[in-house]
């Protein structure tokens, strides 16, 4: 089937080469070439709600939450080497703190969300600290256990509304606040983290992933850097949780549901691990996909999984890397 005498060759586009050195920018086309993808993402995300009907706007809100989780997951997995399967724990701690503040103290949602974001992040970071020295699959599994543990504790002690949860929490002022709050946070988080990983702290984190021994021998306390990274990731997750509990005005043990741990990872894998923007893109593709499949009723999950596996197996580089390649390079066939 495959033609043995030809092979595919990939070459960088000349404009890519020209724009690589930052000081060499000389024309508008080159500027545009650099800015276009970023602008497309920002403008695209910000105008999307205006084009969609109300239901898809809601889906977009949910996608935003998954995007934040995926971003946090990608940061931890690809830049620190901590494969965290405990996204639900961040969601849960943020959601519960915000919801409880709102339900018991009556503070408004807009006030509770920032407090819960910070509080949830501090709480989940503190809880995860003892686990930080673990590596690879071991950290993955222990982080997978934390949300379940929280869930069982809440059921066993019957605290915070027990199995029924608490509903009728305060919601956000209006539909536009709901949607733009999350989108703006996603965009800010994405660019802030992209910036962060290229700062010194980002380099140190990558160093920890590549070779933690050498980092230790360089006089760096790797635990404190890991804590910082986990804190950042849990900030994102806790914000997502706090936001979610006010989006629907509810809190309950299903804030710790496995979906919040697994889906963001799927999004990262699909979008392209390690690219930061990829997981965000993945979340904004995967969540609507899962909603679009609702028409199939029960078959939905099965089809969804097939698509996912197809992606992982046949396009393991992920969406973003694929697009990036197409953007920066062209392909031609050459004869051997």
């Amino acid at each position: 089937m495959v033609d043995e005498t030809r092979r595919k060759k990939r070459l960088d586009r000349s404009i890519k080469v020209r724009t690589e050195g930052l000081y060499a920018l000389s024309s508008w086309t080159e500027m545009l070439y650099l800015i276009l993808p970023r602008a497309l993402l920002i403008v695209g995300l910000l105008t999307l709600p205006l084009l969609l009907d109300m239901y898809w706007q809601r889906v977009l809100c949910a996608a935003g939450i998954y995007a934040l989780l995926a971003l946090g997951f990608d940061l931890l997995a690809e830049y620190v080497g901590l494969v965290c399967l405990g996204g639900a724990f961040f969601i849960g701690s943020g959601g519960y703190i915000s919801g409880l503040l709102n339900a018991h103290l009556g503070w408004s949602a807009l006030f509770c969300i920032p407090i819960a974001t910070l509080g949830g992040a501090i709480f989940s970071t503190l809880v995860l600290i003892p686990a930080l020295r673990l590596r690879g699959i071991y950290f993955a599994i222990i982080s997978f256990m934390f949300p379940m543990f929280a869930r069982y504790i809440i059921i066993a002690l019957s605290i915070f509304g027990g199995t029924e949860g608490i509903s009728a929490l305060g919601t956000l002022p209006n539909v536009w606040t709901e949607i733009y709050l999350i989108l703006v946070v996603v965009i800010i988080a994405l660019f802030a983290i992209r910036r962060l990983v290229n700062e010194d702290i980002g380099l140190i984190l990558r160093g920890i992933k590549d070779n933690d021994q050498a980092v230790k021998a360089s006089g760096i306390n790797i635990t404190s850097y890991k804590i910082k990274a986990v804190f950042i990731a849990s900030l994102l997750g806790s914000f997502g949780g706090a936001y979610l509990s006010h989006l629907y005005g509810w809190l309950g043990i299903s804030l710790f549901a496995m979906d919040f741990s697994i889906l963001p990872i799927a999004a990262s894998v699909m979008g392209g691990m390690g690219t930061l923007a990829g997981p965000v893109l993945g979340a904004f593709a995967l969540t609507p996909l899962s909603e679009a499949l609702r028409g199939f009723g029960q078959l939905r999950v099965v089809i969804y999984c097939f698509i996912l596996i197809g992606f992982i197996v046949y396009k393991p580089e992920g969406l973003l890397n694929y697009f990036q390649r197409k953007y920066h390079q062209f392909e031609l066939w050459e004869t051997v």
Binding site: V83, I142, Y152, I262, L299, V302, L308, I309
Partner: protein
């Protein structure tokens, strides 16, 4: 007494569930998140063979186990083989396969398939009846579980120590590169380990399931138990897994007796977290394992 006898049964149950998972992880470093689904699938397959195709019991069990091992083979050959060394992808892909199986079992109305909904899918006991041990009534099925568990542990250790295939499995588990240089085909061995692992999951299913009902939700529990035991025991170590099964089996029974059943799950997860934090190498883990984990 109650605790002693039933704790033992509980523990052996755990060991049966976990051994297949440990084998796969030990040999190929693949966390098979579809383990629980295969367990449940074998239960339903056996049920269907007995009730819909009216096969006799041992034959039904035999065919289901064969199917399970083929499924394990397929999962590795077509999916996991391309993902070796990417833990996140491995987890996602195998979990997705598991979900497909579990959700597939519940689908209604496709090709006349009714879906396994509701609580009434049971396998018959091998032998009905019970005996009295130390003043506690134990039915034969539970003794069979203990027997099967012991047989499996002994069988596996003979297999891995004295057969060529078993030795190559162990070689891969200890040092993949060295083994490959010595001519052990890593992919083939991993594939075999997946199929044996799946068959072991199936074997666990057919011995344990006659005690209760089969529901798709069990897939998740089985997966969690398997993870828990492997982590606590030290991965790849038979005795570690067995030891961890006993630890969990008894601590869960004890917590039920002391604090009430709702603490059972808390104790389960709490033990895992505690052990990983205090002794990250697992209970019987060695220095090599420690370095790998921390």
């Amino acid at each position: 007494m109650d605790i002693l006898v039933y704790g033992t049964v509980n523990s052996v149950t755990f060991a049966l569930i976990a051994l297949g998972f440990t084998l796969v992880y030990g040999v190929s470093r693949i966390p098979n998140f579809a383990h629980g689904s295969i367990y449940v699938l074998v239960g339903f397959l056996t049920y269907s063979f007995i009730n819909d195709l009216t096969l006799n019991y041992p034959l039904a069990v035999f065919i289901s186990l064969i199917i399970a091992s083929i499924i394990g083979l397929i999962i590795y050959r077509f999916i996991l083989i391309r993902l070796r060394g990417l833990p996140a992808s491995e987890i996602i892909a195998s979990f997705a396969v598991g979900l497909i199986i579990l959700e597939g079992l519940r689908l209604q109305g496709i090709g006349g398939f009714k879906g396994f909904i509701g609580p009434f899918y049971m396998l018959p006991n091998f032998i009905e009846g019970k005996v009295c041990i130390l003043g506690v009534f134990v039915n034969y099925q539970r003794l069979i579980i203990i027997g099967a568990g012991l047989a499996m542990i002994v069988g596996m250790s003979i297999f891995t120590h004295y057969t060529k295939l078993g030795l190559s499995l162990r070689a891969i588990a200890q040092d993949e590169h060295a083994a490959m240089m010595l001519g052990v085909n890593s992919d083939r061995t991993a594939m075999i380990s997946m199929s044996i692992g799946s068959a072991l999951a199936g074997l666990a299913a057919v011995t344990i399931l006659p005690l209760g009902n089969i529901t798709p939700e069990m897939g998740y529990h089985v997966l969690i138990y398997a993870l828990a035991i492997c982590i606590i025991g030290g991965l790849g170590s038979w005795w570690g897994a067995v030891f961890a099964s006993f630890l969990l089996g008894f601590s869960m029974k004890l917590s039920t007796a002391l604090f009430g059943a709702m603490w059972e799950s808390v104790v389960l997860v709490g033990t895992i977290i505690f052990i990983l934090l205090v002794k990250p190498s697992g209970l019987l883990g060695k220095q090599k394992e420690f370095e790998e984990r921390v």
